[in-house]
């Protein structure tokens, strides 16, 4: 807040790190990894300062969404695209998750076995820069640039370093995401021209929010008078499709299991931990705010898709035999919860979604780390061949138990916090949703236990015979995750307060179509920050 461009620093640090890496000679593997971990750690420190800033200071910026650390500079004046950065309660914790998960990913990179380590670390840092960019950009075009930019390093990481059937999986991933985001570009342009018609030559989110889209009649089918959807609805569908593909909601999720199965461990950790959350973040930041009318019209459909994701993901997780695929479908089921929270369009739901994004990031990163460790030691990912790991690896058992409990949302772990708030929000929209979500929780406990007990309990198998326990370094990576899971479960207050600071703004925007826009007064916001006795 003292004029130092924090957000630009956060954005450029990983990119700079990637550049510095190229200077180091290829053979100095330790040095390369050292620099990468150091850059990731510095990033975590910077982000911590920003998040602390967001939690303590009150937001500035008069727009409907009060932001912190706002930085603005003109980028392409001709078309009104500006380099506009800002962070608020919603994106603060996702930023923290982003930095933390990358640090874990960097720590887990196997020094000796990845060839061309410099390229690998460089690409990872670039990916981090891109995801950070997505989270802090408030200008639609800038957001789009980072959204696509995220894809490039990921593609190379997955295409070069995946395992056997990576070709098909990566291709499917690229087709899906590019198709989605191209549609989004069309929608962004539509918004731009609407704003242009309204006299504002801009892509800026604040300006677009200040003069929302007028209520439009449907576009008639060519040569007929049958009114189809209004252009605003088409724009929203484009946005929704792009985000639904990234946050895999069920009909668009088929790329995720294949990709997770073929991705290397460090990439998988941050891919599952952060990149899959961009869709959810996108929905909250752009989806429900810019298109409040269409959101309300499509709310039943979106909510139904969310529930479908929860139940379908759970069902598939129950029947898979490959560990990574089980965790992938578990991730889809959890993301279905987050989507349910968002589409309930009330404060509890969205707060729950933001909290659950952070929690799910931690849990899924932990799960994939454990699966990575087990696969490295036993050489197999097939749950039928595994068993009796608890006898050989007690420390892994302790961490894995805590992570599994977090994953199945045991009350007292961080998974539960989000789920309760989301179920509450969903209930306030329609009671059956909470019941179905409850069924989702039940199935979650079934497939998580099936996986956990399948690996850990039962007699010691041939594969798990001569396996020695976690080394200190691996324990060092898993321990903070387990501690966080329990800590956030027992004391989720800070996460809740920061999220609750920003969410009222989103809710009022989302309800804008229902009644005139009510800009949240400062009093309203300050009421949040003081803590009950």
């Amino acid at each position: 807040m003292n004029g130092f461009p924090w957000l630009t620093a956060i954005l450029l640090l990983p990119a700079a790190g990637a550049l510095i890496l190229q200077v180091i000679p290829g053979k100095a593997a330790d040095l390369i990894k050292g620099v990468t971990v150091m850059v990731a750690a510095a990033e975590v420190v910077l982000v911590a300062i920003v998040v602390h800033g967001v939690a303590t200071t009150s937001a500035i910026g008069g727009g409907p969404l009060p932001m912190h650390y706002v930085e603005q500079a003109s980028w392409i004046p001709a078309i009104g695209a500006s380099y506009h950065l800002g962070v608020d309660g919603v994106s603060a914790w996702i930023l923290a998750l982003n930095a933390g998960v990358f640090l874990l990913g960097a720590l887990v990179v196997p020094r000796r076995s990845t060839e061309r380590l410099k390229l690998f670390c460089g690409l990872m840092l670039l990916a981090e820069a891109a995801t950070t960019g997505v989270l802090i950009s408030l200008d639609l075009l800038l957001f789009y640039v980072f959204w696509e930019g995220m894809l490039i390093p990921l593609y190379f990481l997955l295409a070069f370093y995946g395992n056997e059937n990576r070709g098909r999986a990566t291709l499917k991933f690229v087709i899906y995401t590019v198709a989605g985001s191209l549609l989004m570009l069309l929608a962004i342009l539509y918004l731009h021209f609407q704003a242009l018609a309204g006299g504002h030559n801009t892509f800026d989110l604040e300006v677009l929010l200040q003069n929302p889209l007028p209520v439009q009649t449907g576009v008639a089918l060519p040569f007929t008078t049958i009114p189809t959807l209004s252009p605003a609805m088409f724009a929203f569908l484009a946005f929704a499709l792009a985000f639904a593909i990234k946050l895999p909601m069920v009909p668009f999720h088929t790329w995720l299991p294949d990709l997770y199965e073929s991705a290397p461990a460090p990439v998988l950790v941050f891919f599952a931990g952060v990149v899959s959350k961009m869709g959810a973040y996108g929905f909250i930041r752009f989806g429900i705010t810019l298109f409040s009318g269409p959101v309300h019209q499509l709310q039943p459909l979106l909510v139904a898709l969310a529930i479908l994701s929860i139940l379908y993901g759970a069902m598939m997780a129950l029947s898979q035999t490959d560990l990574k695929r089980i965790v992938a479908y578990a991730s889809i089921s959890h993301l279905g919860f987050i989507a349910l929270g968002i589409f309930s369009l009330d404060q509890n739901g969205i707060d729950g979604a933001v909290i659950q994004i952070l929690n799910h990031g931690i849990i899924i990163a932990g799960l994939f780390l454990v699966v990575g460790v087990v696969e490295a030691r036993t050489g197999t990912r097939d749950i039928r061949e595994l068993g009796g790991l608890q006898k050989r690896m007690p420390w892994l058992y302790v961490f894995f138990l805590v992570i599994t409990l977090g994953a199945l949302g045991l009350p007292g772990t961080n998974g539960f916090v989000g789920e309760v708030t989301i179920m509450l929000g969903a209930f306030q929209y329609f009671w059956l949703l909470a019941v179905l979500a409850g069924l989702g929780v039940l199935l979650a406990s079934w497939y998580m236990l099936r996986m956990h007990q399948g690996m850990m309990h039962g007699p010691v198998r041939a594969v798990t015979e001569k396996v020695q326990d976690l080394r200190f370094r691996e324990g060092l990576v898993l321990a903070p995750l387990a501690v966080l899971i329990v800590l956030l479960g027992v004391f989720p207050h800070p996460v809740g307060t920061v999220a609750a600071q920003a969410v009222p703004g989103y809710v009022t925007l989302a309800d804008a179509s229902q009644h005139p826009v009510v800009v949240p007064t400062v009093a309203h916001v300050s009421a949040l920050t003081e803590v009950e006795p």
């Binding site: 379908y312 608890q390 006898k391 302790v398 007292g412 509450l424 069924l439 307060t497 609750a500 009950e532």
Partner: protein, 668 residues
């Protein structure tokens, strides 16, 4: 007792077991068995002492404010009008009573398990889990906010999962643990939905500032703290479908925990865990959490007669069913498990008909003699080298004299003659005569349960201790060590005398627990209390109940102790062929649930795996197929012959020039 001391004391009660669990779990394996035994038991002992201090404080407090609520920290605050939960605890008579049993019986069982776990390498892990259980049970009992209650609830479920699956190498233990945990999760989800219902609907008329006139419109409270819920329970509508639904959901939660029909199938399988686990968790404390829950939410249940009626019926139904099944079981621990299910059925019946104090009275006494029976069974199993089938035992009374005598005291207490069981069961059946749905009908069923209890209690005693030893192991069984005997003897003493002490001088009528708990159940805002039977009908009920128990015991003695009738043929008469098979196979509930719920879900999952993704994948394959077909059309053009390329060029040149000429021509 003011809030800060309450917070301190409660904090200590929670902290000790948690610290014990952490110490044993993380450092235990390193520091060796002695440290683990010491740390494990001392932490529970400390918790018991603090509970005694609290008990004294609560007894001593003036009648008006025995219950105090304190907040430890704000759990989650999402702003006014939204979820605002803080970790707050309540200390009142009900929670103190529960705490006393949890830490007291828990301490005895910990001492017992020092001996029981002597040869087991995982002792550190065992004590860590047991301490964690005591912590979670204490949290559940002290919680004053529904979310914290649910957290305690789930922590208890977790520790029971860990302890049932303690011997994780045994496939059956692993599956039993999973089954128990998933049933508890059903209860959890039911509680969460009940909490949401309350959160959304609880409303109260805001306090009207003295001077101006206020409209008195009820305004949603959006809170989950129990004191406020009970204070404004009537705002949910007396007898309305809403409050009935809430109570039914709470009851589902209670049934999952207390292994009542239909969520009872996990309790017999839970016997896969070590015996101290069965004694502590599946007899004394955890399974009675359901009873506690209904007792705690008594103000809601009083306002929903339909729901409490349903609870009473389910309770009595389970009691009968469990008793019937217990008759033919051959595993010593499963017989006791079904007896637990039956006794808790009675407790649920008691709280169902509004006799909360009677229910808690039965809970207290039951904790003693059921723990006694389990520990004694533990001694027996230990003596016959882990053999649990009672057909392999027999004639152990001469070999294990102390355990035999304690087991006899326990059986009598269970059957309800002379010792503990008699008082509490007759008390709650007495209430049953005039309260509850179709009031005398359930009482008559209750009498039948007394007979059944007598039957299976002494069948167990007869086959295990009397007659000739039927196996080599039984022949040279010998008494267990002191550390495993002393807790059994203490519990036997408690079972024998507790009833008399609390009920002095008359075996029926008002008892000390009633007086102790009344302030809780007659607190403001709670509904009508069950009417106590007058003197004479009370005595008549007591006598009838007692005679039925004696009938049951007599029949059992004749069949299984004096072998007048051949035990195997006892129930084997042709007409009754169906009943023993039904009873032995636990009324086929396991198979029923398996075919109805488990198998179809798995089949659906497998079906989706084959069909689900490929279908959703198809549209993207479609896109790529179209692209490849389109491109193959053009490949045929590239023949590689120079002349072909040349001819394409020429063709183009010709067309182009003619076009230009024409255009120029036309332009003119």
């Amino acid at each position: 007792m003011n809030a800060s001391t309450a917070a301190l004391l409660a904090g200590l009660v929670l902290l000790f077991p948690l610290a014990g669990s952490a110490l044993c779990g993380l450092i235990g394996p390193v520091l060796g068995r002695r440290f683990v035994n010491l740390a494990g038991t001392l932490s529970i002992g400390a918790a018991f002492v603090v509970t005694l201090v609290i008990f004294v404080q609560v007894l001593g407090a003036a009648s008006g404010h025995q219950s105090t609520t304190a907040t430890l920290w704000n759990w989650l605050n999402l702003g006014p009008g939204n979820l605002n939960v803080s970790v707050d605890i309540t200390i009142d008579q009900l929670s103190v009573l529960m705490l006393l049993v949890i830490t007291g019986v828990g301490l005895l069982i910990h001492v017992y398990s020092v001996g029981y776990m002597e040869h087991d390498p995982g002792a550190a892990r065992f004590f860590s889990y047991m301490n964690f259980f005591i912590f979670s049970m204490a949290l559940l009992v002290l919680a004053a906010n529904m979310v914290i209650l649910i957290i305690g609830w789930a922590a208890v479920a977790l520790s029971s999962y860990l302890l049932i699956g303690f011997w994780y190498e045994r496939e059956s233990a692993v599956l039993a643990a999973r089954k128990a945990f998933i049933t508890q999760v059903i209860g959890d989800v039911a509680l969460v939905i009940a909490a949401i219902l309350i959160f959304v609907n609880l409303s109260a008329v805001p306090a009207c500032p003295p001077n101006e006139k206020c409209a008195g419109l009820p305004q949603a409270l959006h809170t989950l703290s129990l004191p406020q819920i009970f204070a404004h329970a009537s705002s949910l509508g007396v007898g309305s479908p809403l409050i009935t639904l809430i109570c039914i959901l709470l009851a589902v939660g209670a049934f999952a925990k207390s292994a009542q029909f239909p969520l009872h199938t996990w309790l017999p399988d839970a016997m896969e865990g070590p015996t101290p686990v069965s004694a502590l968790i599946h007899a004394a404390t955890m399974v009675t959490a359901g009873v506690y829950l209904i007792a705690r939410f008594h103000s809601l249940f009083d306002l929903a007669p339909i729901a409490s009626g349903m609870v009473a019926c389910v309770g009595m139904g389970t009691a009968v069913m469990a008793g019937f099944i217990a008759l033919s079981q051959v595993d010593i621990k499963r017989v006791i498990a079904y007896s637990t299910m039956s006794q808790i059925g009675l407790m649920i019946f008691a709280v169902g008909i509004g006799a909360y104090a009677a229910g808690m009275y039965q809970f207290l006494l039951h904790a003693f003699f059921k723990a006694l029976l389990f520990l004694a069974a533990g001694n027996v199993i230990h003596a016959v080298h882990d053999e649990q089938d009672i057909r392999e035992m027999g004639g152990l009374d001469s070999r294990m004299r102390v355990t035999a005598w304690c087991f006899l005291v326990g059986s009598l207490a269970l059957a309800g003659f002379l010792f503990a069981g008699m008082f509490s069961k007759e008390d709650l059946l007495g209430f049953g005569m005039i309260n509850g749905p179709g009031s005398p009908a359930l009482y008559i069923v209750g009498i039948g349960v007394n007979v059944l209890t007598g039957l299976y209690a002494f069948r167990l005693y007869g086959t295990t201790f009397r007659g000739e030893p039927r196996s080599e192991a039984a022949r040279n069984a010998h008494e267990s060590k002191a550390v495993m005997l002393w807790p059994v003897v203490i519990l036997a003493g408690l079972s024998a005398l507790a009833g008399w002490i609390l009920q002095w001088p008359v075996a029926f009528g008002p008892h000390l627990i009633d007086a102790f708990l009344n302030p809780v159940f007659t607190s403001p805002g709670s509904g009508p209390i069950a009417k106590a039977p007058q003197l004479w009908p009370g005595v008549l009920g007591f006598v009838i109940g007692l005679t039925c128990s004696l009938i049951g015991i007599a029949i059992a003695l004749r069949i299984w102790v004096r072998h007048d009738l051949d035990p195997s043929r006892a129930l084997a008469r042709p007409g009754l062929r169906l009943l023993p098979r039904l009873s032995f196979n636990k009324l086929y509930f396991d198979e029923l649930y398996d075919t109805l719920l488990v198998r179809p879900t798995r089949a659906l999952g497998r079906g989706l795996r084959r069909v689900g993704d490929p279908v959703m994948d198809s549209w993207i394959k479609g896109v790529s197929d179209v692209a490849t077909d389109f491109s193959s059309v053009f490949r045929s053009v590239q023949t590689g012959l120079i002349r072909d390329y040349a001819s394409y060029m020429v063709l183009f040149v010709v067309i182009f020039t003619i076009g230009v000429m024409l255009a120029a021509g036309l332009a003119r």
